[in-house]
């Protein structure tokens, strides 16, 4: 469980990036943090793995105050994928990059092999095993960063902008993986600007603006509320935009996905035909 109480954070240059954030994320929850550029999303999630400590206020992970333990201890349970993969990658080959944490955490050789193969496969990187991460495309590098964390199967996963550089198929696989994690009661927190991706995975959404949380609720509610979205510099999913424009017909407002949209439209057309 993650518990933040009245967290304020000021960077050395006097920018106050968090201004009183309080929240609770339970084990097994899937949360998406969204909001305008500079709102404090990355700053907030860096508090969850102890990379940053609150200037005032507290953060507890599974009951442990993050100021009382080392980042290394926290890291065993909290996997963090940076917004910019280049801040994370350092090994000479993709294989070494992914195996690094596994070795560090003392996994047995056999398990390392198995997890490595699994992660390479999940993220479509098998053909790049022996390649340097720095010789890869932007999206491929992001997938190496993802693989290196997913491989050791942490209890809490934090992914800062996981869909950067990913095509539709990769996103689909990522979504399936996240749902699998959820089924195993693992906590997944993503930070993202990708509204359409969020509409497809339907998590709990936290909206941020200027260092504060301005909305907290299920995707279907938050993503169909244009006033609140505008505050956080977000536009509704495209399907929702269509339904908002057709509000003078007998159609529901809270629609975020194509299949629900089809069903509601067909119902209305049928009713009218009668």
């Amino acid at each position: 469980m993650i518990e933040a109480k009245n967290v304020y954070f000021t960077y050395p240059n006097d920018v106050e990036a968090l201004k009183g954030v309080s929240l609770t994320i339970k084990n097994g929850e899937f949360v998406a943090i969204m909001g305008e550029n500079g709102a404090g999303k990355t700053t907030l999630v860096k508090h969850f793995n102890g990379l940053l400590k609150p200037t005032t206020g507290t953060v507890h992970i599974d009951g442990v105050n993050t100021t009382k333990v080392s980042v290394a201890t926290l890291a065993r349970n909290v996997g963090f994928v940076f917004q910019n993969p280049d801040h994370q990658l350092f090994s000479e080959t993709v294989e070494e990059e992914i195996a690094f944490a596994l070795k560090n955490f003392g996994f047995k050789e056999k398990i390392i092999k198995r997890r490595l193969t699994w992660a390479l496969n999940l993220l479509d990187l098998t053909k790049y095993r022996k390649t340097s991460p720095f010789m890869l495309s932007g999206g491929e590098r992001k997938r190496v960063a993802l693989a290196s964390v997913l491989a050791w199967n942490p209890k809490i996963l934090m992914l800062d902008e996981p869909t950067i550089g990913q095509d539709y198929r990769q996103k689909e696989k990522l979504l399936q993986f996240i749902l699998q994690m959820k089924a195993q009661r693992k906590t997944v927190i993503i930070v993202t600007h990708d509204v359409e991706f969020v509409a497809e995975c339907s998590p709990r959404i936290l909206l941020m603006r200027k260092g504060r949380i301005v909305a907290d609720g299920e995707a279907r509610k938050v993503l169909t509320n244009p006033e609140i979205l505008t505050q956080a510099s977000i536009v509704p999913p495209q399907i929702t935009q269509i339904f908002l424009q057709l509000s003078d017909f007998q159609l529901p407002k809270e629609v975020i996905d194509v299949y629900k949209a089809r069903e509601k439209l067909l119902n209305l057309l049928e009713a009218k035909a009668k």
């Binding site: 960077y11 240059n13 305008e36 500079g38 089809r262």
Partner: protein, 283 residues
């Protein structure tokens, strides 16, 4: 004459075992708004690097075939000459920022061009305002959030007002409303000043509506090239893994359900909503 023209362009990175782009022949006309998309690793960024001469001058490796940009043969022009004509916003904005302040970063290119002080001030402020970073102009670029850095990179290119603007996945770091505002500005420059825009994107939700030309790449090659409505409505694009905009998907699904809709494939929510309104009224 096409503003960008390539013929059988094939390029292999120095450490590459096979070409990252192969036999690429495309034509981009002045004033077009071109969207380049395709699976991760298919060669989009590599192609962009050819447009401003980073390939072959910086990356070296082996470049075969022909490429001319703004009437210049890339292989004969140094990068700083190309920079006057082609502004490239990198996929990773951080790699592009180096000055001590946001403002200095945005002014850098203009200084190099020898633009007079007065004019420079005007253009820098204009670009800072358009991208919503005027208030943080005195901050150091490495002390910014990802999206703020992306905005600085875009402002630096806009300030130069080059003939061709190339943006490599700009929406990955931008918040959606911010992205929309910036695209509106770029679209405006595209129409009023006939600046050619080349946009690389996976996410077509925010961008498909602006494009009048789409190029889909797959495994280093050009897979589809032409009219956005035709291409995004095609089965091939979906099979390659292009993220078809949701309004276009809804249109395709309803057509299979035999709902009678107009024949123009919609690319945006506005277009799809208008079409549904017609259909619902006519019932």
């Amino acid at each position: 004459m096409s503003i960008i023209k390539t013929e059988n362009l094939t390029y292999t990175y120095p450490s590459g075992t096979k070409p990252s782009i192969r036999d690429v022949s495309i034509k981009i006309e002045k004033g077009e708004f071109v969207l380049i998309t395709g699976p991760s690793g298919c060669g989009k960024t590599t192609l962009c690097r050819c447009f401003n001469g980073l390939i072959p001058h910086f990356y070296q490796g082996e470049l075969k075939g022909e490429i001319t940009v703004a009437g210049l043969r890339i292989s004969e022009q140094p990068i700083y000459e190309m920079a006057k004509n082609v502004g490239l916003v990198f996929q990773n904005p951080e790699n592009q920022l180096f000055a001590l302040s946001v403002e200095k970063d945005v002014a850098f290119g203009l200084e190099n061009l020898g633009v007079p002080r007065e004019e420079m001030r005007k253009r820098v402020d204009w670009a800072l305002n358009l991208t919503g970073i005027y208030d943080i102009r005195e901050r150091a670029p490495h002390e910014l959030s990802g999206g703020q850095q992306q905005r600085v990179a875009i402002a630096s290119v806009l300030a130069m007002q080059p003939e061709i603007i190339v943006l490599d996945e700009p929406t990955s770091f931008l918040d959606p409303l911010g992205a929309k505002k910036i695209f509106e500005v770029i679209y405006d420059l595209n129409r009023k000043l006939r600046i050619t825009v080349v946009l690389v994107e996976h996410r077509l939700d925010l961008t498909a509506r602006y494009a009048n030309h789409i190029i889909v790449m797959d495994d280093g090659k050009i897979a589809l090239d032409g009219d956005p409505r035709k291409i995004l409505g095609s089965e091939e694009a979906r099979l390659i893994g292009v993220g078809i905009p949701k309004p276009t998907r809804l249109y395709q699904i309803l057509q299979k359900d035999r709902v009678s809709l107009s024949n123009t494939i919609p690319l945006s929510s506005d277009e799809m909503a208008a079409m549904l309104r017609e259909a619902l009224k006519n019932q």
